[in-house]
């Protein structure tokens, strides 16, 4: 037969067997929807993060600033232009920040910038917030008191589009003048005794200025406006104001020169590798000058764009790989579905093939006609799936807008062509392969057997080829086992107890056991029954990770949790899923026998009991695939659901204990005033008698362009120091022993400590050699106290370890807060004499800083504008997993990424008080600094009250503190005579709630993600059910003929699906819980079982089973028996 007739046969087959074709198409469509949808979601999420950051950079690729601090001048423009001949445009900019008051709204720190009115149009346009039209900013910035406001700030300031313009904005500029020093009693200038000239001194005042906001530009829209989120001046105007800081009133000051290499970065992103190359090359070419016999760069360059891309990789890395694992498993569900539906066609195809062969059709012809049929199914399935995936992606993107939405422009569904093409092709090929392979196989079978409907049995023993693969797999497994100790010498042999005590060893144990026993199963099945052989395999596959989660982690065998905990989770989940599905699948007949013997006792369903379980076990592979769909999806769902519950519950439950008595904290927008008779602390005690303790502290956060105050993660004087990747904008905090210890002397002092919170990583000398996950709270607190003793001990030094942090090559597996460190596997840094390098220690709440790493903190600024760096060793980190842990941290959870404050996100470094006098930021080093502070001038206050931790009365206290501080002309403002002071009082409980909310949002997203799999699984079930019933028409006719009442026919169809659904559910719940036990053991939090959610899944499965089984069953039971009997497939 020729091509035409093959097509004809295919066409006839397609039109005649509508249900079957429809179900095949639907299955492929669903599978492809999953693949496309999941990919789009993951990509979109990552893109949303990135664009929400990049949009702030506008069109700027690289910034030039003064290499030694201070300003640049107009004269630098030509030099810089010459350095970047390939730049498209260059623009000058002057940025700083200050307070702003609009109406009654006050913002302590608003970014202010001046840009030239004739800036190059390559940097983009400003758009009117109201009309959306392009703005010519020069018409609005006529003089030095006219400014533009960004829409982001406008929204924060409660200004809306209908607010009448212009409106006033009050701010302050620092003014420094040189005045003769006056004799306090006479009022005359004091003269220098030798020269006879008056002694001069600097007078520093804050000049209050009223500016006029003439227009508001849209800062959420890509363009130059997006990079200015505060107040915008003309460059000349801002130079005027800033020059007040200079006693000489020099106005030729430029903060930075901005370089762009192209236009429209938002729609056509710049190639980051090209940019990186340009950046690196430029760095080599930077001119140098000599300062103090040291070579320093005249210019400093940075590229936030590159930094953001690096950071996004880092922050998104964990999230992304988690999503990818989920996505992978969900995609497996799709594959299961396609395979399942196509497998149903096998018997079908065999009969068809038999008939065709009997009437003389050649193999080639049969193959061709089936090829057309599956091709048709594949292509249509692929197209529908693509559409479904796109719709899904769109919906998720909408959800993401509400989740991260800092501007709708920043979240667009990202559809990568390659991903779409790949998914569709995979779906189509999969559909065709799973449809064609059995057919091909059928075309080779005996015609007579095919006609008689003899099933191809899958029970045959393994072939020799398969056994060979089994041997290979076994060797692979042994290789993984040997990896411990023999190949990788850092790990211990498996036959030693110490070979079972860390995560990396377990990774090899899991992989080794998995491969070895899969191989063994295959080999053994040649000699013993396949069921027995694979029972062994599946028990090991399932049992090993469960054992690890429950026993090894639960009873503290695994003492070292460092290493890739994510890998272990992934491997364990995959093994658990495969093992459990295989185990149940292999023993399905036994389970069904049990089911039958139970049901057959119930009057009215005896007929059902006779057929439904038998049907399930007669199609073992198919049934297994069916429940596997739910097993996989539900394992994920239950894992996610119980992870959330575990986290949330442990957070709430432990938070009171963890907060160590702190109920709320207050942050001032500026350090408190140095008042003669009182202090802010004293005032706080007066506000409410319930306040029992106020711990004042000093903190500091560097501005976004204030590189001289960034922490260096490499020695800044070493030749390979790279400001691009070795500087971090971390916050600083000063800790005094009276704040922590109170009246206690040291760790052994039984006196109540004032604020003895939990430490996570501990310094040398305190840290136990192995980490005991089951350690009690008392033990942990005791360790923490001993850590504090080291912290405040001026003699104590800790070895610096050879750990580097490179933003560009950040290793996510060392993710700070994720694993406790023993520092066993890293070497100390040695000096040229071979002795260990030791520094004083700092503590941190930043997840970026691993224990033992050396860092360099910029202290007081030298006369050349160059910071003096003091090296420290990271001696410990606060336990940020313990709710209250460190009330000042956890900003990442509450602020998220949309606030754009990286120092908030990246955390803070805390050093002991004895270093404070060397810093500018705490104000004592440099008497000239406008930040000058007295030892007790605090900005942050931790407060204990008599109320319980979660009492609403604490909110009232917080409110009275804010009222006291923030009310015009009264309270604290009246005391200090300054309206520019704002307090934010936050109760720890509300902070907790906020972080729980953020967590819930994230997990809601994860839920949606995994529920998508559940829904597809449910639809898949319906498809399978329709298919089942359609195919069993003849049996149904026979059932009716021998006296099955309609309801039993329906119940049989229903039961089959329900049973498979429930098996899936049970496997899913059990697996999910085990994974969760493991996860909570890893994080050392109690397990919480989300019975509510599990109940919801139960009802969902029941509902789906009822619907998916009952409808086709009902339809089938309505078909006249005579007609059903005539059905031959």
């Amino acid at each position: 037969m020729g091509l035409i007739s093959s097509i004809k046969i295919a066409k006839r087959a397609l039109t005649r067997r509508k249900t079957k074709n429809f179900s095949a198409i639907l299955a492929i469509a669903l599978g492809v929807t999953l693949m496309v949808g999941i990919q789009i979601t993951t990509d979109t999420l990552e893109n949303a993060f990135l664009t929400s950051l990049l949009i702030r950079e506008g069109e700027v690729d690289i910034r030039f600033s003064n290499g030694t601090g201070g300003f640049l001048s107009a004269a630098d423009e030509s030099n810089i232009s010459a350095l970047v001949p390939d730049a498209l445009a260059i623009m000058s900019e002057l940025q700083s920040s200050g307070p702003a008051m609009i109406g009654s709204q006050f913002e302590p720190s608003v970014s202010m910038a001046g840009i030239p009115l004739d800036y190059n149009e390559a940097f983009g346009n400003f758009y009117d917030w109201d009309t959306g039209e392009v703005m010519d900013i020069s018409t609005y910035l006529a003089d030095n008191s006219s400014v533009l406001l960004s829409s982001s700030l406008a929204e924060d300031m409660d200004i809306n589009k209908s607010t009448e313009l212009p409106i006033n904005l009050t701010t302050e500029f620092t003014s420094i003048t040189i005045v003769p020093k006056l004799n306090e009693s006479t009022g005359f200038p004091i003269l220098n005794e030798t020269t006879g000239f008056p002694i001069l001194e600097l007078q520093i005042t804050e000049e209050r200025v009223i500016l006029s906001i003439t227009e508001i530009f849209d800062s959420r829209r890509p363009g130059i406006g997006a990079s200015y989120r505060g107040v915008l001046f003309s460059l000349d105007a801002y130079q005027d104001w800033m020059s007040l800081q200079d006693p000489l009133r020099n106005k030729d000051i430029i903060g930075a020169y901005l370089i762009t290499y192209q236009t429209d970065h938002f729609s056509t992103p710049i190639d980051e590798t090209v940019l990186q190359e340009k950046f690196d090359a430029l760095e080599e070419r930077l001119p140098v000058k000599m300062v103090n016999d040291q070579e320093v760069n005249v210019y400093a360059i940075d590229s936030s764009r590159l930094l953001y891309i690096g950071l996004i990789d880092l922050i998104f890395g964990l999230m992304s790989s988690f999503l990818n694992v989920l996505g992978l498993l969900i995609i497996i569900t799709g594959i299961l579905l396609i395979t399942n539906v196509q497998l149903m066609s096998v018997e079908d195809r065999e009969f068809q093939t038999g008939v065709l062969r009997a009437v003389g059709e050649k193999r080639g012809g049969i193959f061709r006609s089936m090829l057309f049929e599956t091709l048709f199914q594949g292509i249509f399935g692929g197209i529908f799936g693509l559409v479904g995936g796109l719709i899904f992606g769109q919906l998720v993107a909408l959800y993401l807008v509400s989740l991260f939405g800092s501007g709708s422009a920043s979240v667009q569904p990202l559809v990568k062509e390659s991903v779409v093409i790949f998914s569709v092709i995979v779906g189509v090929i999969l559909g065709m392969l799973t449809g064609l392979l059995p057919a091909l196989r059928a075309s080779r079978v005996n015609i007579v057997e095919a006609l008689r409907g003899i099933k191809i049995t899958f029970e045959e023993k393994s072939s020799r080829n398969l056994a060979f693969i089994g041997v290979l797999l076994s060797f692979l497994g042994i290789f993984f086992f040997l990896n411990n100790g023999i190949i990788n010498r850092n790990l211990q042999y498996i036959w030693l107890t110490s070979g079972w005590d860390n995560i990396s060893e377990w990774e090899n144990i899991l992989l080794g056991a998995g491969f070895l026993f899969t191989g063994l199963g295959i080999v053994l099945s040649r000699y013993i029954s396949r069921t027995k052989a694979f029972n062994l395999t599946s028990i090991v596959l399932w049992g090993t990770p469960v054992f690890m989660f429950v026993v090894a982690m639960g009873s503290g065998w695994i003492t070292d949790m460092s290493g890739s905990s994510l890998n272990i989770l992934i491997i364990a989940i995959i093994e658990i899923v495969i093992g459990s599905v295989m185990l149940v699948g292999m023993n399905l007949p036994y389970i069904m026998r049990f089911l039958r013997s139970t049901l057959i006792k119930i009057p009215g369903v005896k007929g059902v009991a006779q057929v439904a379980p038998a049907l399930i076990s007669s199609h073992k592979t198919r049934s297994t695939l069916t429940f596997a769909i739910f097993a996989v999806v539900l394992t994920l769902n239950v894992t996610v659901a119980s992870l959330v519950a575990t986290n949330i519950d442990s957070t709430v439950g432990q938070s009171e204990e963890d907060s160590r008595g702190i109920d709320l904290y207050v942050q001032l927008s500026d350090p408190e005033y140095n008042l003669a008779n009182t202090s802010y602390t004293t005032e706080l005690y007066r506000i409410d008698s319930a306040i029992t303790d106020v711990i004042g502290m000093k903190t500091f956060k560097p501005g976004s362009t204030d590189y001289t105050r960034y922490v260096a993660t490499k020695n800044p004087f070493s030749p390979d120091f790279n400001p691009q990747s070795n500087l971090l904008p971390l916050g600083f905090g000063e800790l005094r022993s009276d704040q922590i210890l109170g009246d206690a002397q040291n760790a052994t002092d039984d006196e109540d400590w004032r604020f003895d919170f939990y430490m996570y990583n501990l310094p040398d000398g305190v840290r136990p050699t192995s980490i005991d996950l089951g350690a009690s709270d008392e033990v942990l607190l005791d360790q923490s106290k001993r850590a504090w003793d080291k912290f405040f001990d001026p003699e104590y030094r800790m070895t610096a370890y050879n750990i580097t942090l490179d933003l560009e090559n950040f290793d996510i597996s060392n993710f700070g807060g994720f694993t406790a460190s023993t520092l066993e596997e890293v070497d100390p840094i040695l000096d040229i004499n071979g002795s260990e390098v030791q520094y004083p220690i700092v503590f941190t709440d930043s997840f970026l800083l691993p224990l033992g790493m050396p860092i360099w903190i910029p202290f007081n600024t030298s006369q050349f504008g160059f910071p003096v760096y003091q090296p420290f060793t990271i001696g410990g980190s606060f336990d940020s997993d313990r709710a209250g842990g460190w009330p000042l941290s956890r900003s990442m959870q509450t602020e998220g990424f949309s606030s754009g404050s990286f120092s908030g996100t990246l955390g803070t470094v805390y050093f002991p008080e004895r270093f404070s006098s060397y810093t500018d930021f705490f104000g004592m080093a440099d008497e000239l600094s406008p930040d000058k502070r007295e030892p007790d001038q605090f900005d942050t206050y931790l407060i204990k009250t008599t109320y319980p931790f979660d009492s609403p009365a604490i909110e009232d206290v917080a409110q009275s503190i804010e009222d006291f501080t923030n009310t015009k002309d009264s309270g604290y403002r009246k005391l200090i005579g300054d309206e520019f002071m704002v307090a934010t009082a936050t109760s720890l409980y509300s902070k907790l709630e906020a972080s729980l909310e953020m967590m819930e949002q994230m997990t809601n997203f994860l839920q949606i993600y995994v529920n998508f799999g559940l829904i597809i699984g449910a639809v898949g079930m319906a498809v399978i059910s329709v298919r089942n019933v359609a195919e069993r028409k003849r049996e149904i006719g026979m059932m009716r003929a021998i006296g099955f009442p309609r309801y039993q026919v329906m119940t049989a169809a229903l039961l089959e699906l329900m049973v498979l659904g429930f098996i899936g559910l049970i496997i899913g719940v059990v697996n999910g819980l085990f994974v969760n036990v493991g996860f909570s053991n890893m994080l050392d939090v109690p397990v919480v079982i989300p019975w509510g959610t599990i109940g919801a899944y139960l009802s969902f499965i029941t509902f789906i089973g009822l619907l998916a089984g009952a409808i086709p069953g009902w339809v089938a039971s309505r078909i006249p028996a005579a007609e059903a009997l005539r059905y031959v497939g």
């Binding site: 009057p603 059932m1039 006296g1043 309609r1046």
Partner: protein
């Protein structure tokens, strides 16, 4: 009436019609007024050219499909008047079916196939199993109890089907070419079995067959053409045992 005998009438059909696709352009008038009486213990054969309505007639008797007019009385009950549920129960208790092909549930073993009708009647599963085993042993299938249909020969499958039809001790057994798929030796075995049961239990058999030789084993033969009964041949035929 084609047949008269003084013993009790078990099946009485009057003016039975069946139209497929009624009112549509492809309407088929498959039965055009069938009148028939079968007495208890009769063994009747139906013969006729392909497409003349034999299968349709059996389906009407068993109420596997709705008829388009006429009356069917089985054991004096007007079965047309019963609801679908009642018809099913009636069929379960009074009628046994044996078909030509794919007669058994492929996913159940021989004994399970046979016991199913008893389970439907509400029997305890242990008792049902014992009865099914006994009947299969009687039919010479004692050593094939737990085989699946696919592991049985055509004749063996048919014997299991017979057992399933007989297990509830129905008054009437309807067979649509029960030997159609079998070779002559096996066919002979099956028809001999029918005869034996018929003699022993006084059960009524209505068998559709194309095989004259089989038909002649029956008491009489009804010939159908074009949806009508054309004539009837009375036995006994030559070598009846």
């Amino acid at each position: 009436m084609f047949h008269s005998n003084d013993s009790e009438v078990i099946l009485k059909i009057e003016g039975l019609h069946k139209r497929y696709n009624e009112g549509k352009s492809n309407e088929v008038h498959a039965l055009r007024g069938i009148d028939l009486e079968v007495k208890k213990g009769d063994m009747m054969a139906i013969m006729g050219p392909s497409g003349c309505g034999k299968t349709t007639l059996l389906n009407m008797i068993g109420h596997l499909d709705k008829n388009s007019g006429g009356e069917i009385h089985i054991s004096k009950i007007d079965t047309n008047k019963l609801s679908d549920g009642q018809q099913t129960a009636f069929r379960r208790d009074n009628i046994g079916f044996i078909f030509q092909l794919f007669n058994l549930f492929p996913f159940l073993s021989a004994v399970e196939n046979v016991e199913t009708p008893l389970l439907l009647q509400g029997y305890n599963s242990g008792i049902a199993r014992e009865q099914a085993k006994m009947l299969l042993r009687d039919l010479g299938m004692g050593d094939r109890l737990y085989h699946s249909p696919m592991e049985l020969s055509g004749g063996q499958q048919q014997r299991v089907a017979v057992a399933r039809a007989l297990i509830t001790d129905p008054a009437i057994i309807l067979g649509d070419e029960p030997t159609g798929d079998l070779d002559s030796t096996t066919s002979a075995e099956v028809i001999t079995l029918f005869r034996r049961i018929n003699k022993m239990n006084k059960q009524t058999f209505v068998l559709v067959t194309h095989n004259r030789w089989i038909a002649e084993k029956c008491d009489y033969i009804v010939h159908m053409i074009d949806g009508k009964i054309s004539n009837m041949e009375m036995g006994p035929f030559k070598e009846e045992k």
